[in-house]
Amino acid sequence: MRIDHRIIAPWVAPGSRVLDLGCGDGALLAHLRETRNASGYGLENSAEAIRGCVERGINVIEKSLERELDDFGDNSFDTVLMTFALQVMKHPDIMLAEMLRVGRECIITFPNFGHLPVRLALLFRGRMPVTRRLTYQWYDTPNIHFCTVADFEALCRAKGYRIRNRAMLSRGFSAPLKDLWPNLFAETAVYHLSN
């Protein structure tokens, strides 16, 4: 099981109605269904991932994530989830606002572009970073809006979002330091927000 799924589960209230944006093969929704008795839907646009959802018996809606979530009414979900997709959005700020319109709370996982190896790649190699989590070359990456932990929290402050929980993930050398100095040592950040 993916480690961020284990972190997210306790943040989802038992029996919640959830919406997972970019749900992949439905692993997170299946985990939340088992551990939190959560129900809901995943949105996904990869045919292969959608098949995975159908196999698991997860409700999946074939859809590309655009600017707005206009298929869904205000507060129609308890929690809206988005793992590793915010950096792909054309308008991450609008998407974030939409997530908190449709859901009372939202949980977001994103790669921290302030992570030390990312900084070093740019500083010493002068090249756009290609790392364990960020495997694309600059020209073929779907990731068009990277941010750092500090950037993300600045946006939350500016918009008045409340950070209910956060967790930092790292492996290797930066793991012991990730909570002390997240912006430099967290590889992945997980945030739990509400209005």
Binding site: Y41, V54, I61, E62, K63
Partner: protein, 386 residues
């Protein structure tokens, strides 16, 4: 030598007939005192009678959805051979698949081309104007007679999907899953316009005789019916499907300079063939009857035109499938269904299959479609065997 059928086919099948003596109170206010249903079944009903799947056919469909009726090697299989059979989405090793010919149709069930027992004459244009709920009610009476309290799934493409949705609202506790393929909650004005063309084509045929052509025993309005089908057939494919299949190839004549010849394009010859084939197989009064049923159908009408309120009556889970190039039942119509289901809090998955095959795609063995449908039905099968 007996014919060898493909291993993934149900093989040789025989239609069955059921005479329903119970009166059928129709939505139009009239009553049918009894009626005949022709149907086929594939697979075996389990002891608990929980593995039954109802397949609702579309406009030109009927009870013969899979397998073969004879040893004749030229005979084509039923209309949904792509999806029904051992190892196929509606896996006949697990499911008991039931396919009735709807009343009002013309393949053996009571319809305009059968005789009214009260008068001994052909029903013709006097066959009662049916609505979708009448079909659903007659299918429910069939289920009662077969001892099926709850369908594992009700499945249908196009107007078959409309029947599945109507079932979900009328008898919510009698189905566990609804599979709604290339369908809509109501026809759009454009669709009604296409139906109007078909109606005009049929009624303008001098042989139509106000619908009494069977009584007169003479010619049938084959020309009008063929023309109606040709216009419909155009809307079932897409621009690129036509281009790929026929190009601008000529069946007859030549483009050469210095020659005068009658031209016939391949696409014309195809439409001509489809029209003639259809008019030989279908009854004009049935076609008119079903077109009007389609025009009339509006899933949410009696729920204050609110699809969310409508679907809040459903209890089953839904699989909605649409096809990208379908311009008869646009993918957006399916998205409307899904949006309403989500807002009503119902379980739903929605797949949009990328294809250039248009509305007809729902009948075709498109790998992604078949694969996802099969994956969904495996879970349906697992649920009942638990």
């Amino acid at each position: 030598m007996p014919r060898v059928f493909p291993a993934d086919s149900v093989g040789l099948v025989k239609p069955q007939t059921m005479q329903i003596e119970q009166p059928l109170q129709l939505a139009c206010g009239q009553q049918m005192d009894g009626y005949r249903l022709v149907y086929e079944t594939y697979g075996r009903l389990n002891a608990d009678k929980t593995n039954a799947v109802l397949v609702c056919h579309a406009l030109s469909g009927h009870h013969h959805a899979a397998g073969y009726h004879s040893d004749d090697p030229r005979e084509k299989p039923g209309w949904w051979e792509a999806c029904i059979g051992p190892g196929k989405p509606l896996d006949t090793r697990r499911f008991y698949v039931v396919v009735p010919n709807n009343i009002g149709g013309c393949h053996g069930s009571s319809g305009p081309n059968t005789r009214n027992p009260a008068t001994g004459r052909y029903w013709g244009p006097d066959f009662p104007p049916l609505r979708f709920r009448d079909w659903v009610q007659s299918q429910r009476q069939l289920a009662d007679r077969l001892g099926i309290d709850c369908w594992a799934a009700i499945v249908g493409g196009s107007l078959g999907g409309m029947q599945a949705m109507r079932w979900a609202l009328e008898y919510p506790e009698r189905l566990r899953h609804a599979v709604v393929i290339a369908s809509a909650m109501a026809l759009t004005p454009l669709n009604i316009a296409f139906n109007a063309l078909a109606r005009q084509a049929i009624t303008a045929d001098p042989a139509f005789c106000g619908g009494r052509y069977l009584d007169q025993g003479g010619a049938r309005p084959d020309v009008g019916l063929a023309l109606a089908r040709m216009t419909a057939q155009v809307t079932y494919l897409s621009d690129s499907a036509f281009a790929q299949r026929f190009g601008r190839a000529l069946r007859q004549g030549s483009f050469a300079r210095g020659q005068v010849s009658e031209l016939q394009f391949e696409v014309e010859s195809y439409l001509d063939y489809k029209g003639k084939q259809f008019s030989a197989d279908f009854d004009a009064n049935s076609y008119l009857l079903i077109l009007r049923m389609l025009d009339f159908f509006d899933l949410a009408r009696e729920y204050d035109d609110d699809p969310v309120a409508a679907f809040s009556h459903a209890l089953c889970k839904f699989l909605v499938i649409s096809f990208s190039s379908d311009w008869r039942f646009l993918p957006e119509r399916s998205r409307e269904i899904t949006r309403a289901l989500i807002a009503a809090g119902r379980d739903v998955s929605h797949l949009e299959i990328a294809t250039d095959r248009g509305h007809d795609a729902f009948l075709l063995p498109l790998p992604r479609y078949i694969d996802a449908f099969a994956a969904y039905m495996r879970n349906v099968g697992d649920e009942i065997s638990q």
